[in-house]
């Protein structure tokens, strides 16, 4: 219970900071909308509905992936400013609670952007899912968590690096490949109904397993990362 309270304290703080600054959400939203708009201009979504449906799962995750990297890169900036991170390092609360609080805050930010992006995406690409649309309620949070948990961790890993903006995508994208594959396949499957429900469920299970494994690893390793010199 105490641990959970620490996580909530960190989460509340990050939400409050974002509410005051709105740096992460604004940046992400702008970037995501730009990606969606550019792709919709690259081909005619209404002229080729089948092709659109086939590639839209990938386009959606490309928009989310690239836009979330802009926010994740900033995730620890506020902690470095004014040496607040040193105060965090000296606090007796568990280091992993700081990580979890921040990862949850990032999840909320990205989900907010997705909630705004989804209707725009559907209108731009003239989409209506042919498969079980409710499965998106599983795929989106699981996929987003996979990106966010690793992104928050690798952003912390690159805190003391000179080229940390460059380092994050270099580390995050290869490690997230199994999750990205599952996200895109599941999303495309739901949109096109080309693959059967069992296979979609397998992708979702893979995503869930990925989330559990990497969340555990990140929690276990975060203290070492935080106190590294």
């Amino acid at each position: 219970m105490k641990y959970l309270r620490f996580v909530l304290d960190h989460l509340r703080k990050d939400l409050r900071l974002e509410w005051r600054g709105r740096d992460a959400i604004n940046g992400m939203l702008f970037f995501a909308l730009l990606v969606v708009a550019i792709f919709s201009l690259a081909f005619d979504p209404t002229g080729y509905p089948t092709t659109t449906r086939q590639i839209s799962g990938g386009v959606l995750w490309v928009a989310i992936l690239f836009s979330s990297v802009t926010a994740l890169n900033q995730a620890w900036t506020r902690e470095i400013r004014n040496q607040v991170l040193d105060a965090q390092r000296m606090a007796p609360s568990p280091a992993s609670s700081l990580f979890l609080g921040k990862a949850l805050a990032n999840l909320i930010f990205v989900l907010c952007v997705e909630a705004i992006l989804a209707p725009i995406f559907i209108i731009f690409y003239n989409l209506h899912p042919l498969g079980n649309a409710w499965l998106f309620l599983l795929v989106m949070p699981l996929g987003t968590w996979a990106l966010v948990v690793n992104g928050t961790f690798f952003a912390a890993l690159g805190l003391r690096a000179r080229n940390r903006e460059l380092l994050l995508p270099l580390l995050l994208f290869p490690v997230s490949l199994p999750a990205i594959l599952a996200m895109v396949q599941a999303a495309s499957g739901i949109l096109t109904n080309d693959i059967d429900a069992i296979q979609i469920n397998l992708w979702i299970k893979q995503l869930a397993a990925y989330d559990i494994i990497f969340t555990t690893l990140c929690i276990l390793l975060f203290e070492t990362i935080l106190h590294a010199e």
Binding site: K2, R5, F6, D9, K13, R16, L17, R20, G21, R78, R81, N82, Q83, V84, D86, A87, Q88, R89, M90, A91, P92, S93, H227, E229
Partner: protein, 240 residues
């Protein structure tokens, strides 16, 4: 050079709150600390003087457990600083506060992180702010504070955690003379506050303004090129 900084100078040394044994800290080719040994007894107040780059801040950061010594060992109450996180508080040059939050929001947040530690800090951010002369009801965020106000808010942040060992890096910088004197009085008062562990409170502070810290300085260490060049106890003459 090895120095024992004990305020009393008596034969029977009191419990060491902090101890450095042959500590060196090297950054690349630059040695910020060179074979420093010192013992700071519980309840003592030590002022560390020295030029820029003499190693004062590094010494405090090593004691705070924020950096590890390249060689030698550090202990706080006989254990590593990392195992005594709730007992040490460190105030840096930077305010260590979130710019987008008010002072009260900052302090409430940091107090919540000490909840596990059975300290009396929860619920005391308002008191800590009043003690340093800031209004807890101030709705301005820290980004709109003057340097002096930030410094005071930063001091409130460390005091509210009810530390046994207080490490202050240049606490008087950015303060006007009157505010600096108020801070000295507050720190002198803070030393008399009882702690639930029964230990007396220990203060180590670095400054360039030795005259301001004079009332607090039971022991004065002067650092030069990463070493303790001189130790002066209030009751004794400075060592050669």
């Amino acid at each position: 050079m090895q120095t024992k900084a004990s305020p009393s100078g008596s034969a029977a040394l009191p419990v060491a709150a902090a101890e450095l044994t042959s500590v060196s800290r090297v950054y690349g080719t630059f040695a910020a600390l060179r074979n420093v040994s010192a013992s700071f007894s519980a309840g003592s107040c030590t002022v560390i003087l020295g030029e820029n780059g003499a190693g004062k801040s590094t010494l405090l950061r090593v004691l705070a457990g924020l950096i590890s010594p390249t060689r030698g060992s550090v202990s706080i109450f006989g254990d590593s600083p990392q195992k005594n996180r709730g007992r040490i508080a460190y105030m840096s040059h930077a305010p260590m506060l979130y710019e987008e939050l008010t002072a009260l929001e900052n302090l409430t947040y940091f107090a919540s992180l000490h909840r596990d530690d059975q300290c009396a800090c929860v619920g005391s951010p308002e008191m800590a702010l009043r003690a340093v002369g800031l209004d807890p009801a101030l709705t301005r965020t820290v980004s709109q504070y003057s340097q002096g106000m930030r410094q005071r808010a930063s001091l409130a942040r460390v005091l509210q955690t009810d530390p046994e060992v207080l490490l202050l890096d240049e606490p008087f910088s950015n303060l006007d003379v009157a505010s600096a004197h108020q801070m000295v009085e507050l720190l002198a008062d803070f030393r008399t506050w009882p702690h639930h562990s029964g230990h007396a409170r220990t203060i180590l502070l670095t400054t360039h303004q030795a005259h301001l810290a004079e009332p607090l300085a039971e022991t004065t260490l002067t650092m030069l090129n990463g070493q303790i060049a001189n130790t002066k106890h209030r009751t004794s003459e400075p060592a050669a």
